[in-house]
Amino acid sequence: MSFARLALRPAAFASRGFATSAVAAKHVLPDLPYDYAALEPAISGKIMELHHAKHHQTYVNSLNEAEEKYATAVNSKDVKAQIALHPALRFHGGGHINHSLFWENLAPKSASGGAPPTGALAESINQTWGSYEEFKKVVNASLAGIQGSGWSWLVKDKETKQLQIVTMPNQDPIVGKYAPLLGIDAWEHAYYLQYQNRKAEYFSAIWDVINWKAAEQRFKA
């Protein structure tokens, strides 16, 4: 499969008929690299469709709006307006970044979804947590411990190269010190139609569609 398909593509944007901006091309919703129903039974087609076509699309639209306002504020040197826009950029920009990574780090079983990690990343996971099974338990505990909306991430410390599991509230993205390798969405919209309040079942099922090839690429980068 091609990871380039999910890169944010300013070029595609003009061809979709959006008006171009003098400042920068707008963000667009990336295509999913698989069908909406391809992750069943772990994640239903209905969830995937709403999650991608509605939720992710809204983050993209709201990010573009916020960036436009931000550009205006920068041009007019209105620093207060710039600062006031930070929460919107963080939330909608984070939502766009997080979901783009999420779609990529999932895959249908037919495309090796659920196949355990291999190579250097597998080694590093074993060194850090003892085994893949133990690692999954720790991630699932972190997901279950999120109080509200948020994400759990396997990250690499950019300096020490050590692996770590971190949780982030709402749509706060992984930036700075850590590089995101694998993200799991623990917002209720990610599972509620299928699992309702039984979120532990979602956390357990999602390992069947984790795309470790994507995480391995990110680990190497």
């Binding site: 109080q147 509200g148 909306s149 709402n170 749509q171 209720e188 919209h189 139609l193 309702q196 309040n197």
Partner: protein, 201 residues
């Protein structure tokens, strides 16, 4: 089976009584699963012995989240009522409506502003109409299950967690917010405004 200090309060109406604005499935899950889990986890947290400050602080986060969940949902059930009943008529809250008009211009403007606040929440949380210590009405939000700060009287709370509407409205939370005005228990809101309704937990 050990009985905890806190128990799930009964709903003051049937699970399907708020239809079509909130479906019976949502109400059943919300009350018997979500609220019950907050009660269960609150009792579990309170029964733990924390003898050193580190574990005490860790427990506080559990008590805040689950205790907040119990308080918030208990308030929420009571400030809802089946559409078309006397309680759900805005005329049941004459003093409160007068105060709302003084503070926000008119009821429509208040609803608009409250709705905008609800839709602006980033992540899980609640929107509230409260009366502060000076007796002033304010619209505020709390994140996750944080309860409204003590010293403020809750008049009206609306749950903006996705589990409160998702099965029925999906991502269209604006429709949930619009619909909920039909099932506000204005009589209860009036009592809270006048200080005549104490929440027993």
């Amino acid at each position: 089976m050990q009985t905890g200090r806190y128990t799930l309060p009964a709903l003051p109406y049937a699970y399907d009584a708020l239809e079509p604005y909130i479906s019976s499935t949502i109400m059943t899950l919300h009350h018997t699963k979500h609220h019950q889990a907050y009660v269960t986890n609150l009792n579990a947290a309170l029964s733990q012995e924390a003898t050193d400050v580190t574990s005490q602080i860790a427990l506080q986060a559990q008590i805040r989240f689950n205790g907040g969940g119990h308080i918030n949902h208990s308030l929420f059930w009571k400030n809802l009522a089946p559409a078309g009943t006397g309680e759900a008529r805005v005329e049941a809250a004459p003093r409160l409506v007068q105060a709302i008009e003084e503070r926000f211009g008119d009821l429509g403007k208040f609803k608009e502003r409250f709705g905008k606040t609800l839709l602006g929440l980033q992540g899980s949380g609640w929107g509230w109409l409260v009366k502060d210590a000076e007796g002033r009405l304010e619209i505020e939000t709390t994140k996750d299950q944080d309860p409204v700060a003590s010293g403020k009287q809750v008049i009206l709370g609306v749950d903006m967690w996705e589990h409160a509407y998702y099965i029925q409205y999906y991502n269209n939370k604006a429709a949930y917010v619009e619909g909920i005005w039909n099932i506000i228990n204005w009589e209860e809101c009036e009592k809270r405004f006048l200080g005549q309704s104490a929440l027993s937990l």
